[in-house]
Symmetry: C2
Subunit: 160 residues, 2 copies
Amino acid sequence: MTETRWLSDDERTAWVRFTAVLELLPAALDLQLVTDEDLTHFEYFTLAMLSEAPGRILRTSALAARTNASLPRLSRVISRLESAGFVARSLCSEDRRATNVSLTEAGWAKVVAAAPGHVEAVRRFVIDALTAEQIEQLSVISAAMLKRLDPDSRMLASEA
Amino acid sequence: MTETRWLSDDERTAWVRFTAVLELLPAALDLQLVTDEDLTHFEYFTLAMLSEAPGRILRTSALAARTNASLPRLSRVISRLESAGFVARSLCSEDRRATNVSLTEAGWAKVVAAAPGHVEAVRRFVIDALTAEQIEQLSVISAAMLKRLDPDSRMLASEA
DNA sequence: AATCGATAGTTGCACCTACAAGCAATTGAT
DNA sequence: ATCAATTGCTTGTAGGTGCAACTATCGATT
């Protein structure tokens, strides 16, 4: 094994701060959605991805790719959203193993209702805390990290 | 309610990318530690915080503050680390409600063994993906977000 | 010193997620 | 046409975390 390259003081400071953000920000966003809309961030994100899909319908595995969720996880989340009336499952005619998940009217209404509060939280904790220049920097920096974290950009791709 | 201020295109791009990082990075760091060291990132962080404390000992609530954990969560994590032999509980002489948690020799050895791999992962996914200038930008940006997320900087403070 | 409220920590219960096993449908090779 | 391997999704089981309830102790007041 080669010698460990420890972090410099500047690197360490940046990392400690960034780690704190990684810990606190998701919790803060979740809290807003759970208290205001009774949705976890992941549930909201799932509904949001569906709402942006053409026809507001997606196959389960396509939705899993967009939300970076495992199939088992997504399957249960869909079940919950289904019993809340926000999504509906239907069979896929092309491949009878597959299931399509579609956003119901109630689900669409839920996204529309929840979006402003969520965006407001994103502004409060992130966007409005930064200058336009810093937002651009964050964008570039995030892209650089994503190249390492997700080389195939499965997370961002709208499906080839 | 006032009119929603939606995100501009640039803001939205930055946010989508940053969200992906928020989702992928913790999972990537966890994966390295779990597979290589059989420790969750939170367990590692707990041991690391203890290892940096004077005398490698801390009261449970002080440790909870440093790790941003609820007492119930930390209590159970300590129980696990204790049965693994990495930490030990002892009674606090000054306040008999409190418990001190100390790092054992085995716990210290575990941190020492795990640190290089973890730092290497941090480098691989974050530090080495960025220029020195970008690391400085990330540091400043994180600080700005933390001011909103954690106004009292409980997370970073080494306890007043 | 007796008491009431706050604090330190643990535990019961419910929920969410991961991993692995399972079932059904599809694809590819013979 | 048939069988084996793969794919799409669901479910059984185990483990981690949050919230609320609980015990024990401390501190302040009377």
